[in-house]
Symmetry: C2
Subunit: 237 residues, 2 copies
Amino acid sequence: MTNELLELISQLPLFESLPRSLVKKTLNGTLPMVVPRGKSIALQGDRAGSLAIVLNGLIKVYRLFPEGKEITIRLMQDGDVVLTDLGRVGDISYNENYEVIRDANVIFIGKAHLQACMAEHPELAMAMLSVVHTQAQCLADEITLVKWQYLPQRVASFLAGLDPEGSGAVKVRLPYEKTLLAARLGASRESLSRAFAELRAIGVNVQNMVVAIDDLDRLREFSETSSHDLRTRCEGK
Amino acid sequence: MTNELLELISQLPLFESLPRSLVKKTLNGTLPMVVPRGKSIALQGDRAGSLAIVLNGLIKVYRLFPEGKEITIRLMQDGDVVLTDLGRVGDISYNENYEVIRDANVIFIGKAHLQACMAEHPELAMAMLSVVHTQAQCLADEITLVKWQYLPQRVASFLAGLDPEGSGAVKVRLPYEKTLLAARLGASRESLSRAFAELRAIGVNVQNMVVAIDDLDRLREFSETSSHDLRTRCEGK
């Protein structure tokens, strides 16, 4: 593993609080694997024998039901971790599908090796606890948003989150296709279009993947009457 | 602490895999506190200096927003744990309010003591990881349900879950008031009433807190066309 790569990995949320030597030991010489778009890094029901760390790319986490219905739970991006129950001994299965939407570099660390490292270095277990806790908090944020905001506000939050530092008139680029965006926001493609149409009234114009926002502050205000800063924790990177 | 109490605590999900001596050390002689209905065990924004373990009772976890809007995220019952980011050093705040709905017995364990125990006994950190992971999975289940099921199905799942072993004609008792049930299911009190009205067509009759179900298998089938066994993991106790 090159020093550059080690440097990159050491800055991920899971590792940032840990000494470089422990990061190296945990990685155990593993190299990132390229997982191309369309492939999955894990499938619902698969035995979960490793922890996957997403270095970059975009991964859709979803559940499939017998009738073929698919529910998107969240999206994973740089630094996110595919978590399984590392505290449990024995066989564990994945509860979700992890499909690569944009070519990804993923590091897989075997569960047994990771457990051994955690037992020897409690600070790794603590870092892991922190990451799992953040993930649980992001899911709670998601529940709050789904239960609370009406769709145009969720869309407004999302758009405003794409340019957290911006102000006034800005253009942002949608980070992924509208169908995936709709799934991400828990809506149908049609409802998303209607939400975009509603947002036109406050100066939001969508042209393919580019969104022109007349007044970002106004959009933020519209979204913040309900959403506050929930998004920042999970998508503000 | 009596042996009987220690026995009870040792059987909680957090402790069941651990040796009795470690449970005792972790508890550090702490006794359960009675927290009466209407009181809160923690408030959004409070400094989180301890882990709270709910021995029994019912606790509503919700977020408050400046406009006074309240969103219920989940309910906590016997054995559930109020989690904060135990992996992080320094000040941490609660992200939610925890209001006691039914008199609760709660054990509070100081964060510093807990962190010291985890550092010395990695198996405690692993058990904690397992508990946080289960909680994250329950939240993901919740997202799936909120995004997917229409309300009458969510109500049907909930009712069927109250008598998981039953069959045919049964009566079940609602475990808490309808206003809380509505909040729990992410609905208004009015929508819940409409859902109950819809369920009448498949033989569900509500009289105050008692629900008469003509055919539990039919109700289960109605709910399971969408919900499967998600509920069992989080509410099947």
